[in-house]
């Protein structure tokens, strides 16, 4: 009787019956973590994940799936967690997302799946990202990987760039039986996951595990290879025997402010700061040779995720004061809510509605401060955000000895310089809806097509391109079974589309 009642309750899960509060996740204490590079968010335990999984209403028409750029069956995997089928949960995610341990950590879930979660209309939304990470970490720990059997089909696929777009495309093409090689200019694969996102947000061990999974699918990684200069895209098709090529080289070209003092020593792009620290391991200098002397007071310009990473890296490298200087307000800040929150906890000082107009020379070619103006928000601009306008007479000096620009990036120019691919006026590669470029058989996706976006959007683009690449190669897409032609009247009881029949005389 009791059991039946419970079952009924389970069926009729409502907003009232689920655990009301979002399950908190354990984190390293701010005072401690600013002295190390180990991960801040410690992830859910099994018990915590189960409790949080119960909060999902398993909606009949789930909005979260539509909110996910790769369309993960979110209620599907959470339901598996509810029934303690952990491997099953992984299998559901792995059908659409190759990198759950990465995406669970770096996706801006509040703008995607969690942003449309029905629970979130009344309570705090289900912590889908944390659950995804739980499953992803468990898969790494247990060594789960779903390698489907696929007959090699003899097609050679070249992928340019080993970031999220390239990885996602490589996985799908390898699963289809293609011989896939990923080319990376750096000495280690992973792209922005490796050079951009710091260890305390995405540990290297997670990237290594995800790359190892790709290798299990048969994907080959070739580092130290600058496509465009070592060989061109055209040569890949014409001489190197690739049947189709995917370009996912990202938007890594940093923007400088273009104000006086830009070229002073002590002014650097967030890309340079993060690459030195993450990929080149300047944080372990002098055991690693790449230096990154940090200022006492660092001003990071911008308030996106990259800016948050930069501020928090500077704190860990020993800067006494780290300021985030942004010309709009916290409400317009493009960073993930969690990153802003973490930066604040770690003592980063925020200066909203402030914009530098000059970086000041200390007399030796280094930085002694900035001249800033205060801003106020005016009419909405093209992006829909209120345009910041300077307040007259508000110029003031801002003391700091290092300035980091995290104000966005542009298209990497190398592929454009070295091929006849058509680019748009901003230098991004032009591609149609199927992500095919102006050269037949060459596809492109991710930031190099759309401009700077997110890891999961790049992965989504890599997967969409893979669909088109398979069609280009004439490979059957299991998910897209051909639509049957309208029924035609049968002939002697045999479907007309069935052609290989012979008439036999009966009797």
């Amino acid at each position: 009787m009791q059991k039946e009642l419970e079952q009924q309750m389970a069926k009729k899960k409502t907003i009232r019956t689920i655990p009301q509060d979002r399950t908190p996740v354990r984190e390293q204490a701010p005072a401690e973590r600013v002295r190390n590079f180990t991960e801040v968010n410690l992830g859910y335990s099994l018990a915590e994940a189960k409790r949080e999984a119960e909060r999902c209403l398993l909606c009949a028409e789930p909005k979260c799936i539509a909110g996910c750029p790769v369309g993960i069956d979110i209620p599907g995997f959470i339901d598996k967690l509810n029934t303690k089928d952990l491997r099953g949960a992984y299998d559901v995610i792995a059908r659409t997302n190759l990198l759950p341990a990465v995406c669970g950590r770096v996706c801006p879930q509040e703008n995607q799946c969690e942003g449309v979660c029905v629970v979130g209309e009344t309570l705090e939304s289900v912590a889908i990202g944390r659950l995804e990470r739980f499953v992803g970490d468990l898969a790494i720990e247990k060594g789960w990987v779903n390698v489907p059997y696929s007959e090699p089909n003899g097609f050679k696929v070249g992928i340019v760039g080993s970031g999220p777009a390239g990885m996602a495309c490589a996985a799908d093409m390898a699963k289809a039986g293609c011989d896939v090689t990923v080319f990376e200019a750096f000495h280690q694969p992973g792209g922005v996951l490796r050079y951009g996102i710091p260890d305390f947000r995405l540990p290297n061990s997670v990237i290594d595990a995800e790359i190892a999974n790709l290798e299990k699918l048969g994907v080959k990684f070739q580092n130290n290879t600058l496509v465009g200069r070592l060989f061109t895209i055209e040569q890949m098709i014409d001489e190197l025997g690739f049947h189709t090529v995917f370009i996912g080289t990202g938007a890594g070209y940093p923007t400088m402010l273009g104000i006086p003092g830009d070229s002073l020593n002590g002014v650097l792009s967030a890309n340079e700061l993060l690459t030195r620290c993450n990929l080149m391991r300047a944080k372990e200098f002098p055991d690693f040779d790449t230096p990154l002397p940090i200022g006492r007071r660092v001003a990071v310009i911008g308030s996106g995720n990259t800016a948050m990473d930069a501020t928090r890296v500077c704190r860990r490298l020993g800067a006494e004061k780290v300021y985030c200087v942004y010309r709009r307000t916290q409400a317009e800040s493009p960073a993930r809510a969690e990153e802003l929150h973490h930066a604040m906890q770690e003592g980063v000082e925020f200066h909203w509605l402030t914009a530098p107009v000059e970086v000041l020379d200390d007399g030796n070619g280094a930085v002694r401060g900035m001249r800033c103006v205060r801003m106020e928000l005016g009419e909405p601009d093209a992006s829909g955000r209120r345009r910041p306008v300077p307040v007259p007479g508000s110029e003031h000096e801002f003391e700091c000895d290092m300035v980091v620009y995290a104000i966005g990036t542009n298209a990497n120019p190398i592929i454009g310089q070295t091929s006849r691919l058509q680019l748009n006026k901003w230098g991004y590669i032009s591609a149609n809806d199927e992500l095919e470029t102006s050269i037949s058989g060459v596809f492109a996706g991710g930031d190099i097509v759309t401009g700077a976006a997110t890891v999961i959007e790049a992965m989504g683009a890599g997967r969409r391109a893979a669909v088109a690449m398979k069609a280009f190669l004439g490979l059957r897409e299991p998910a897209a079974a051909p639509v049957l032609a309208p029924q035609t009247p049968a002939l002697f009881g045999i479907d007309r589309r069935e052609r290989n029949f012979v008439r036999v005389r009966a009797g």
């Binding site: 070739q222 040779d289 120019p413």
Partner: protein, 292 residues
């Protein structure tokens, strides 16, 4: 066989050494003016080095390196024939435009002597009259004398102490060449910034197009870090993808020289610490995994 194997090495002096590295694809792709980024081992910096020569038949590229800091001194010690580099990527940067110059001077000083060689050879192959001008501190440091003479119609060696060729700097050599020829229509200068600046000043009055190859601090070499930004004619350029060749009459050399001092302090510390460890016999075991 591991990747990036060192197949030949020659020491030109106590501080200058040449490495020939097997990389058939790069030997095929390389053009004069381009550079590579090399890493000795997993712990190393990424060091940009101009490609001094390439041999398409042998499938090798040649680097000439001056041991000036920790990384280049470590390479001097570790790089033997048969060993391999951990990383080597390139060719990077825009190839030099070998135009339609009829008479050109190719100026190389210090680090720039080796990379000026392929430029001189390319100009010679394009049919130009080539005047090579190279500068060294003294006779003992002179290298590639024969190689240069083979591709130059005139060749001027300048040494600070006069122990070989003429006594003086490369600017003295440039002056000699300008006095002798009034129809020089192109100059290429590669070397320390102060030398390139002086060379550009020497040709400015005659308005001879003077290309220089810039060597700012860089990390990735693919346009990603912006560390190599230079001011050229009031525009900000990235040496790695927009260069490394620029019009010497437009380059802000003072800005470049200031920016090159960026990591001077830490570099000094690193070099001192390294020499200290060498003396103590505590050089870190070099981790050198094979090809990935």
């Amino acid at each position: 066989m591991s990747e990036f194997e060192i197949v030949a090495r020659e020491d030109f002096s106590d501080v200058t050494y040449m490495l020939e590295i097997r990389h058939p694809l790069m030997a095929k792709a390389a053009r004069p003016g381009q550079f590579v980024i090399a890493m000795l081992n997993e712990h190393s910096e990424r060091i940009p080095l101009t490609i001094a020569d390439f041999d398409r038949d042998k499938g090798t590229i040649t680097l000439v390196i001056q041991a000036v800091g920790k990384s280049t001194r470590e390479m001097q010690q570790e790089c033997r024939v048969g060993t391999s580099l951990y990383g080597l990527v390139g060719p990077m940067g825009m190839p030099s435009e070998i135009g339609h110059a009829k008479k050109a001077i190719c100026v190389g000083g210090g680090l720039g002597v080796a990379p000026i060689y392929p430029q001189a050879r390319a100009l010679k192959e394009s049919g130009a009259y080539v005047i090579g001008i190279v500068g060294f501190r003294n006779k003992d440091l002179v290298f590639w004398d024969e190689k240069f003479r083979a591709v130059c119609d005139e060749f001027i060696v300048c040494t600070d102490d006069g122990s070989a060729g003429i006594k003086g700097f490369v600017t003295d050599g440039i002056r000699l060449a300008l006095e002798k020829h009034d129809d020089i229509d192109e100059a290429i200068a590669i070397g320390p910034p102060v030398m390139m600046k002086a060379a550009a000043e020497a040709t400015r009055p005659r308005k001879i197009r003077t290309m220089v190859s810039l060597n700012p601090v860089m990390v990735d070499g693919t346009g990603m870090c912006g560390g190599c930004r230079v001011n050229v004619g009031d525009k900000v350029k990235f040496a790695c993808v927009d260069g490394p060749d620029f019009d010497g009459h437009l380059v802000d050399f003072d800005d470049l020289m200031t920016r090159l001092r960026r990591y001077k302090e830490v570099e000094k510390t690193a070099a001192e610490r390294w020499s200290e460890n060498c003396r103590m016999g505590q050089v870190r075991e070099v981790v050198r995994p094979g090809a990935n």
